[in-house]
Structure formats: structure tokens, C-alpha cells
Symmetry: C2
């Protein structure tokens, strides 16, 4: 692993475990077996680390959106699976993306908000497409989007690789719960839900 | 407000905004216009404040469970409404209950886990009751419970009193989304969903 990647990796872990404010550069250097000063050869500030971790997590989530294809039901299935896989594979970074971004100051705060919004709007686009095609039924595509993203995001709190259900099983059942909430019934409109 | 209540109120706000580790007793004293030392006339430690805030939030959530009555559909509706109301009214305390509890050490950590589990089990009991009565359909009452609690808990991230939908409207639509996910269709089995 490149030195910079390693620094970002450890920073993500510390920020997610202890919180951004409670993580000092000295502590970070200690975890990397570096002198405090030599850390600054690689990065300009603690805040630069935070925005970098947020960017990395955002890239993973936005990558899920880019890979979606097929009808709205297939897209929601792939979205649920992809979103949960990012959380499972990137638990510390996802936690920072979900929480610690708030401690950024402008202009980084604005950038983080824009990245989060881009993902939300992408998800809402899928929901809206389903509504427009008459496949999903919901009073408000906006609230339905917040509902499904809430159900997905919170999994970082309870998902554990050693849990009783595999990620694949959780994804399957979660997709079915989300699709039902969107009005797609088993054996419903699309004949495969 | 009693002095101790005021201390807990401010502690909840600081812990939720900056995180438990990043909040110092000195800072807390400053927000209360107290000398650092005189804080200790009211409380023994920073950790005592954390467990107290967790207990207060837990009492509010458990109070929702105790107030449930009627059939499983009515219970889920009241649960969604009650849970969202606690979050809206107690945003800082709920945030601490959702996140900062992890920074407790034993035996407080164990107590916080038990309180959170008691609530989860209560919710799962309602889901299971609906399954047993043939009103809800779900592959796993456990996963459906985690799904609905995830959807509810995450609202503390985006709910704002000044938002476009009132708490009442959000609760109504959320309850319908949750009930659909549990297999209760509009005009479905219970004739009123």
C-alpha cells in the first residue's frame, strides 16, 4: 500500500472509531509509526485527510449508481446490493461519510454536501423512474428515497460479517422489503419481484 | 430547570454535536457558566453524564412501547409516530443514544446495550405478533425489525422541523411504507391499512 493510502486507511479507522475531533495528528502518526512532523510530508492537514476519506467513500457509492441497468426493479435490487456491499467492505470510510463529514469547514463542507446530494439525487432518480413507468407506487418519491436510504445507511450500525445472515441473504431480503415499500408485490407487476 | 437537569441538557447537546471524546468537562462548565470544579458537586464524572443521557433517551423510547395498543397494524402506526416524535423532540439525546453510548466502559456499556436491546426486542415483539396473527408477512421478523428500526433511526440525520413536510405527514407516510414492507397493502387484509 502506498504511504498516502496507508495514512488515509488509518485515518478512516481512527475518525470512525473515536470521531474526527477526538483524533489527533500525533495519535495518527503513532499508529503509522511515524514522527508527528513527517506526516506533513504526505498531507497538509487533518482536515485534508477527512475530505479525502469522504471523497473515497463517495466514489464507491457513486460507482454503485453508475453500474445500475435494466428496469427500475432490477435497478433497486442492484442498488440495495451495491450499497450494502460498500458498507460491508468499507465500514470505517462509510462511517466517516455518514457522520464525520459534518466537522468539515467550507469549502470542503460544501463539497461533501454536494457529493452526498449527488448520490441521494441518483437514488431518487431511480425511484422516480419507477413511479413514471407505473412500476412503483408512492405518495412522495422524495420521502420514499429518504426512507430507503435510511434503512440502508443504518445497517453500518448492526451489520457484522460474522452475523447469522450472509451479506447476500441480507441484501436479498432487504431488496424485497424496499420493493414492497415501493409498492412492488411478490408476483406483482414485473412478474419476478 | 433544576441544576442537574440543566447540566444533562447541555451535556446531551455537546456530546451530540462534538462527540463524547471531544467534549471536555471544562467546556461543559463554560457553557454552564460554572467553575470547572463546582461541576463535580453535581456529578461524579463525564461518563456519568453520558450514561444518564442514554438512560433519559431510553426512557422516552421505552415509553413509546408501553403506550402501544390495539391490533398489530395500529401498534406499528403508533410505534412509527412515537419513535419519530421522540427523535424530533429529543434530537441531541437521541443522537447520543444512537451513537455516543459506544464510548461507555463496563458496567455502563452493558447497561446501555441492555436498554437498546430491550427496545429492539419490544419492536420485534410487535412484528412477531403481526406475523403470528397472519397480518404481517415477512421472511424474518428479526431482519424486518432491523429494517424498520434502521429506517426510523436514520431520520435524526435529515429531519428538520422547518422541512417541507410536518412531523405528522412524515409519520403517516413512513407508517404506510413500513406497513407495506411488512406485507400490509392499502385496502389489504385489515381493511384499513
Amino acid at each position: 500500500m502506498e504511504r498516502r493510502d496507508e495514512i488515509l486507511h488509518i485515518a478512516g479507522q481512527l475518525f470512525s472509531q473515536r470521531g474526527y475531533h477526538a483524533t489527533s495528528m500525533r495519535e495518527l502518526a503513532r499508529h503509522l509509526n511515524l514522527q508527528g512532523g513527517s506526516l506533513y510530508a504526505h498531507i497538509a492537514s487533518k482536515e485534508e485527510l477527512l475530505i479525502e476519506v469522504v471523497r473515497q467513500a463517495a466514489a464507491r457509492f457513486l460507482g454503485v449508481l453508475e453500474g445500475l441497468e435494466g428496469d427500475p426493479v432490477a435497478k433497486i435490487r442492484a442498488l440495495v446490493r451495491g450499497h450494502l456491499r460498500v458498507i460491508a467492505e468499507e465500514l470505517p470510510r462509510a462511517t466517516v461519510f455518514f457522520h464525520e463529514w459534518k466537522h468539515l469547514s467550507p469549502p470542503f463542507l460544501k463539497e461533501a454536501r454536494a457529493l452526498r446530494r449527488r448520490y441521494e439525487e441518483g437514488v431518487q432518480g431511480v425511484v422516480q423512474e419507477g413511479v413514471d413507468k407505473g412500476v412503483f407506487r408512492t405518495e412522495s418519491a422524495r420521502l420514499a428515497t429518504l426512507f430507503l436510504l435510511s434503512a440502508l445507511n443504518w445497517t453500518y450500525q448492526w451489520y457484522r460479517p460474522e452475523g447469522p445472515l450472509s451479506l447476500e441473504e441480507i441484501s436479498e431480503q432487504y431488496a424485497r422489503l424496499v420493493l414492497r415499500a415501493l409498492g412492488v408485490w411478490e408476483g406483482g407487476e414485473d412478474g419476478e419481484a
